[in-house]
C-alpha cells in the first residue's frame, strides 16, 4: 500500500555523495527553469502544495525511479496541468491553440515575484479539534498507515513509522491536514505534534540505541498508549 516516494529506511541506495565546494545552486540551466515554471504555475491557484506533492508521488514507480529530481517535478506539473483542466492533452502534444487562456489574468508577473515568495503559504489555521495530547504523552502511530479518506491518497505518515510508540516532544499548533487538502476535500486542520521515537522502536538493527527520530504528525495519525 506504499508509494515509491516513501523511502525512509530503505536499503540499497549506496553512499550519499556530498557536492563539491562552490557547486552551483542549479546543476543545469533546465533545473532552474523547471523550478521556476513549477512555482509560476502554482501561482495560478489551481492546486495547493499537498496536491502538487501527491502529483509527484503518484508517478509510476518506474518513472519516479528513473527520473532525476527536476524531471519528477516536470512530469508531475504536466500531469497536474491536464488533471486540473488548465491544459489539454492536445496542448501538451503541441496541437493546442494559442488563444489567451481564461486563467491568464492570474499570471505571475516579474514584479509580483518578490512579494509572492516573501509571503509564503502558512499552513497553520485557527479552529479545528482541540489537542488531545500534551508534551510528554506516550502515543502510538496508527497501523496500517495510508490515507484514510482516499485509497492510495496522499499522507505524511511514512511507512517506517507506522505502529510505533513514541512521545509528544512539542506542539506545533493546528495545521492543514494533507490527507484531505491534497484531494480537494477541504483543509480539515488538526493539531500537529513533533513526536519522538527511539531508534530501536523503528529499526530492528538500530545503528545506536541512544539515537532518536522526530516526525511531525497530525492528531489523527496518533492514538494514546
Amino acid at each position: 500500500m506504499s508509494r515509491v516516494h516513501d523511502m525512509g529506511g530503505r536499503f540499497g541506495d549506496g553512499a550519499v555523495r556530498p557536492d563539491p565546494p562552490k557547486a552551483p545552486v542549479f546543476a543545469a540551466e533546465w533545473h532552474a527553469r523547471a523550478l521556476a515554471v513549477t512555482l509560476a504555475c502554482g501561482a495560478l491557484g489551481q492546486w495547493n502544495i499537498d496536491t502538487s506533492r501527491h502529483a509527484r508521488e503518484k508517478l509510476s514507480p518506474l518513472d519516479y525511479t528513473r527520473f532525476s529530481y527536476y524531471e519528477i517535478w516536470l512530469a508531475a506539473l504536466a500531469d497536474l496541468l491536464v488533471q486540473k483542466g488548465v491544459l489539454s492533452e492536445d496542448d501538451l502534444a503541441g496541437q493546442g491553440s494559442d488563444t489567451p487562456h481564461p486563467l491568464a489574468s492570474k499570471r505571475l508577473t516579474a514584479d509580483m515575484v518578490p512579494s509572492v515568495l516573501a509571503k509564503g503559504g502558512p499552513a497553520d489555521r485557527d479552529g479545528g479539534p482541540e489537542p488531545v495530547f500534551a508534551e510528554g504523552d506516550a502515543v502510538r502511530t496508527r497501523h496500517p498507515g495510508g490515507n484514510r479518506l482516499v485509497n492510495g491518497g496522499h499522507t505524511r505518515l511514512p511507512g517506517y513509522a507506522t505502529g510505533a510508540e513514541g512521545r509528544i516532544l512539542r506542539r506545533h499548533g493546528t495545521h492543514v491536514l494533507p490527507d484531505s487538502a491534497a484531494h480537494g476535500l477541504g483543509e480539515a486542520p488538526e493539531p500537529l505534534y513533533a513526536v519522538i521515537f527511539a531508534a530501536g522502536e523503528l529499526w530492528s538493527h538500530p545503528e545506536n540505541p541512544e539515537d532518536e527520530v522526530v516526525l511531525d504528525l497530525w492528531q489523527s495519525y496518533l492514538e494514546p498508549v
Binding site: R33, A36, V37, R107, P114, A118
Partner: protein, 207 residues
Amino acid sequence: MPHDHSDHPHALLPPDPALRVKALETILTRKGLIDPAALDEIIDTYQNKIGPQNGARVLARAWCDPAFKEALLADADPVLAQLGYYGRQGEHMVVVENTPQQHNMVVCTLCSCYPWPLLGIPPGWYKSDAYRARAVREPRAVLADFGVSLPEGTRVRVWDSTAEVRYLVLPMRPDGTDGFSEDQLAELVTRDSMVGTGLAKTPEGTT
C-alpha cells in the same frame, strides 16, 4: 504519439528534460499563463539573493547574543520575521541546538522539504534517494559519508520534515573563536552544519 499517457499525460511531452521544460514553457507562455520574465526573477532570487548566508548570519548572532539565542530557540518565527527571513518554505521554523550530548540532523524522507529563506534551494545530495532513505536509519553512516564522526556519548536526533515545519540546526561554536565578530563567525557556519551533516568550520580551517 506515445500511447501510454492516459494516467500520465506528461508522456506527451518530449522525453529529454531540457526540451521538455522548454516545450512546457513555450506552451504556457503562448497561452498567457506564465511570464518568462517572472521565471528569470524567481531564478535570480534563489541563485543570487537567498541562500545559506542568511542562515549563517542568524546563527552567528545566536553564538554572540544569549538573549537572541534564547528567543530564537524558544520561538523562531517572530525572530526570523523581524530579520526579514520569512517566506516560502520557511513559514514555520524551529531551530534546534547541537550540544556535546546531542547532534541534530535534518531530512525529508518523503520529498525534499528544506528551509528555503534560510538556506536557499537544497543541494542535490539532500534530495537524493540515498540521503532520504538512509538518514533516518543510519545517520552515523551518512555522517561518515560527509567525513564527520561524533565523539563517544553524543546522541543523534534526526528530524524528518513530514509537515510544513522546517528545521535549522544551530551547530556548536568552534573553540578558538573568542572575540570573533558576527561576520567572522558567520564565515564558519556552513550550509551542511545547519542541516546537521557537517560541523561548523574551525578558525584554522578557514584560511
